[in-house]
């Protein structure tokens, strides 16, 4: 175990200001592997990456004036995702159902993950990871959708593995320019 | 009642020449006319309209016509010591008349203001000095 990670797992009196290269690399690999599992539609494996207390949040982005104090998103408004682990499991039941017509033939997914930055988290054993995603979906012969956005994650290291504990996804769209969002981001 | 009318006439007749002879103390309104956080617009034949504000007990007089698109500032919102023009929402600082935000760029005229016997007066430029200043290069 990396010495710096050892600092993170103690009830540290001093909060470190950066994470080690080793931890950064582990987090990147986690995010890339997660993207590959989603591309493959391996939702059971994807679920195993999530902490039991996961909060998975993707608010609707409103088109408001710059000086509007209400801001472009807020937790009490309608959201695309505002999920616990049980909510996500329920969605996966539909994805895996034989009668999920909008998934058959399968959507061709590509998740591109980039711009990964890792910072110490607020609690021991946790880090904050920022990343950019580009999600490409292709269905049928010509149906294609590209969606860009950013994620702010909290990853937790426990028993030798990283788990996703919090995710906030902000997409770079106001009106969603597709008929549905049949994808995790 | 009779005493009040006589007192009012005495106030109205009162003028005070300033030291430099360039301003005349002009009666604008009663202090009760400026209340509830709203300014009072006062039409003055020679000078043009002014707006009287009451901020934390102090009275201020500025030109009422916005220097940008000629709207009446007395119809604008007041936030603290800022008045917001109702036409294009440009902001002026009331105590100094300073133009603060786009699209207003030209400051407002401001006039020394005082209260006497329940009435608000402002030192407005008299006609002589206004003509003189308009001849300046």
């Amino acid at each position: 175990m990396d010495g710096h990670l050892g600092v993170l797992t103690e009830a540290a009196a001093v909060v470190p200001t950066e994470v080690s290269h080793t931890v950064s690399r582990q987090v990147e690999r986690f995010l890339y592997r997660e993207a590959r599992l989603l591309d493959q539609g391996d939702y059971d494996a994807w679920l195993s990456l999530l902490a039991p207390d996961i909060h998975y949040w993707m608010p609707v982005i409103e088109n408001r004036a710059r000086d509007d104090p209400e801001g472009t998103y807020a937790p009490e408004r309608l959201a695309y995702y505002d999920d616990t682990i049980d909510d996500l499991r329920r969605r996966i039941v539909r994805f895996q159902a034989k009668t999920a017509w909008a998934e058959n033939p399968a959507t061709r997914h590509v998740h591109v993950i980039s711009n990964v930055e890792v910072e110490p988290g607020d609690s021991p054993g946790e880090v904050v990871a920022h990343s950019v995603f580009v999600n490409y979906r292709s269905r049928s012969e010509r149906d294609e959708v590209v969606l860009f956005g950013r994620r702010r994650d909290v990853l937790r290291h426990r028993d030798g593995v990283w788990l996703l504990a919090r995710r906030r996804i902000l997409i770079a769209q106001n009106v969603l320019l597709s008929k549905n969002l049949n994808v995790f981001l | 009642m009779g005493l009040r009318i006589r007192l009012r006439r005495a106030v109205l007749n009162m003028t005070t020449e300033s030291v430099d002879g360039a301003h005349i103390a002009t009666l604008l309104c009663s202090v009760d006319d400026v209340c509830g956080g709203r300014p009072k617009r006062v039409e003055l034949k020679e000078h043009g309209p002014v707006a009287v504000f009451r901020l934390n007990g102090t009275f201020y007089t500025i030109d009422d016509t916005c220097t940008h698109a000629q709207a009446s500032l007395a119809e604008g919102e007041v936030e603290g010591d800022i008045v917001i023009c109702p036409a294009h929402f440009g902001r002026f600082h009331i105590p100094t008349g300073k133009a603060i935000t786009f699209p207003v760029t030209q400051d407002l005229g401001i006039y020394a203001t005082f209260v006497r016997d329940g009435h608000v007066f402002a030192q407005l430029p008299c006609a002589r000095s206004r003509r003189a200043s308009s001849e300046l290069p």
Binding site: V60, E62, N63, R64, A65, D68, E70, A74, E76, R77, L78, A79, Y80, Y81, D82, D87, R90, R91, V93, R94, A97, K98, T99, A100, W101, A102, R139, N174, V175, L176, L177, S178, K179, N180, L181, N182 | C66, H68, A69, Q70, A71, E77, I84, C85, P86, A87, H88, F89, P103
Partner: protein
Amino acid sequence: MSEQRPTDTEMLTGRGSTCWYDEQNACLDRRVFWDEHIYDQELERIFRRCWLFVAHESQIPKPGAFVSTYMGNTSVLVVRQRDLSIKVLVNTCPHRGNRVCHAELGNARGFVCNYHGWSFGLDGRMTGLHEAAVFERTPGFDKRKIGLPQAAQIATYKGLVFATFDPAAPPLDEYLGAYRWYLDIVLDNDERGTEFLPGAFKSVMRCNWKVPAENFTGDALHAGWTHDAGSQAVFGKGINPTSEDGLQININGHGWQVDSKYPVGNAATLGYKSILRYFREREPAVAQRLGAVRARMAGAISSASIFPNFSFLPGQSTFRVWHPLGPREVELHAFVLVNCGAPAEIKEAYRKGNMMTFSPTGLFEIDDGENWEFCTQSNRSAESRRQPSHYGLGLGSEVPSSELPGNVFRCQVNDANQRAFYRRWAQFMSAKSWTDISAC
């Protein structure tokens, strides 16, 4: 399909419109889902005439509050005035046409065009101009005569704000007619009234607006097939076949279809036992207020639509507009309606429940979009759009009813409401004005 199929020339010139919907054979000409000229005619004859939903009062509580939406494909601003009335302003500057507001909602002091600084108050009247002096020197220029175009009439029914561009349109109450008796089920089951939860789901589907509108007005049939996977996810099993006791009801082209066997079936779809308890606990009070029949309809498996393009699901409480931004493009705006007096935990359950079921990520909504897009897009083919369509389910099922207002049809699985929708559509498309349009 009728032998009197209008030719393409007749379609282009707008003649033969009553032949697009063949009443005798319960068949619809599929060109109505594709043709640009029909769409242009709809923009004139339907979306400039009908009362269109624009907002819920709760979205614009205070003076200066506004939301941006569409009437047809016209961008409008719904603005709360200083006297608490509502105006609907067309979002186009009378100078050169630019939008005067680019935000979708907020609080404004007025609206200023970014191009030349023409400025308008909350009421749409001009309040100022950049370089005002030059305009004022222009002969004939009178700023008092300039302002943003406005809807001709605005009216509210129990929180729902409607507007029309047509000054000749009958009052809203007449347009809705006896359908208001049904609307009260969702709008007036509690004396404290209703509100929209904050926010909206907005998405784009490449389908014709009539495809989802006809679905919501009367398509109980698709639920058990399209939404089997959604039902598996929420209930662990598929959707039970609907009962013979269910009904379809339509008035003036507005539709409501409802099952009788599962009185809280729609509400249960949200997946929260707390919502089911809320319905059951409130049923006696609702029965006292609206009667036992309407109390049982409140959360039932049902769907509804107000002609032309405002639809909702009682129970799930999703309220949505299918904005026709093109002959083959819908911008969907969806909201969630709750009782103002509902406890906070119930409102939160509605928020999350709608997210899980009737949003772009919704377990039910996800499987609808592709059906509707291909129903529309197949008509790209000249051959395909010559093919018949079938709207004959439940012919002859009309039943008299002394208890329920409107045209009532036995059996929820039915096309009666779809037929009424297209009958009304054809009526508007061939009418020269409101004087040619009667109640039905």
